[in-house]
């Protein structure tokens, strides 16, 4: 399982660098339900996107941490959803 997790993390790094942002989103969603405590990678992907590509833009009211904040919000939603699914 550890090997799969490492492979999934490598795929996540490559998707942040080379694939469209929505491909990263799909990968994160799938991985979140496959692996335990995947929140670290999810937030790290958001931070990496902001640091690599982010600039203050009018459409985001000048906020440069849009992907980070979105990933935190997504994490909260996914954790809540997973908890409900297990009951």
């Amino acid at each position: 399982m550890h090997l799969f997790r490492i492979l999934a993390d490598a795929a996540l790094v490559l998707s942040v660098l080379f694939l469209p942002w929505w491909a990263t989103l799909v990968l994160v969603l799938v991985s979140f339900f496959l692996f335990e405590s995947y929140g670290y990678e999810l937030v790290a992907a958001g931070v990496a996107m902001d640091l690599l590509y982010g600039v203050p833009q009018v459409r985001f009211a000048g906020i440069t941490l849009v992907a980070t904040l979105s990933s935190l919000l997504l994490l909260a939603l996914l954790v809540s959803m997973r908890r409900r699914m297990r009951v």
Partner: protein, 270 residues
Amino acid sequence: MNYRLIRKMTSTRGTFTRTIVAVLAATLILLELFVPHVLRNALSNSARPLWRVEGAISGVISSIPTFFRSRLSLANEISALREELGHAEVAIADRNTLYEESILLKGTFWRPISNENGILAAILALPPHSPYDTLVLDAGSTEGVKEGALVRIGSVVLGTIARVDRHTSVAELFSTTGNTTALYLLHNNISIPVDAVGQGGSSFIITLPKEIPAAQGDKIFFPGIRASLVGVVDSVDMTLSSSFQTIYVRSPVSLFTLRFVEVERARDTP
């Protein structure tokens, strides 16, 4: 009974995870707010070799003899080349006019325009990799790139440098969704100031009163002494009920075929 115990264990672990993530996120946000270049430089420098490898691999793949490629990829390449040719024809169409205008302006204002070339920068990443619709360029402050400098391909302007790191920089496109840029529309040698609103995908929308003349093929320029084409009017939409017309503009350059851009040096920036 078991149900409650499992719930309790999961909840404790979840709280621990959430706390760790929150602390990490808070640290990163604080670092980003107070010392923004430290993290960005570190990550950009780490990612740059990977982007270069990807560029090299793309180059090798594109040089594979056509014999070994599938019919589908060849058909795609033909359509991409046709599109590129169309854009090139549009870009060439106004070249002579721009050249004459440039000579006239230089003579009129006695203002020499720098003959130095801009900074050539390779594109490391472009939309849709970037959720921000930005270009990551392989040139930064060390190479002389300054914030606000124009990014262009020949006479076509794409955007400006929004962020500069040590060896990389990030360019924001004029066509990014929601960006409003003050430009001017050239119709029958009459310049009309307009505000172009980016729509993403190298396209813009301009809204003007119906009385102002505009037609398909009109050019949109960036104000400045150097010829700077931003786009060409693709279509003009007007309805009987509205007193405004909507002008759809597209850039003559297809972003997805680009590998290099020119970043103007600071003193050339208008």
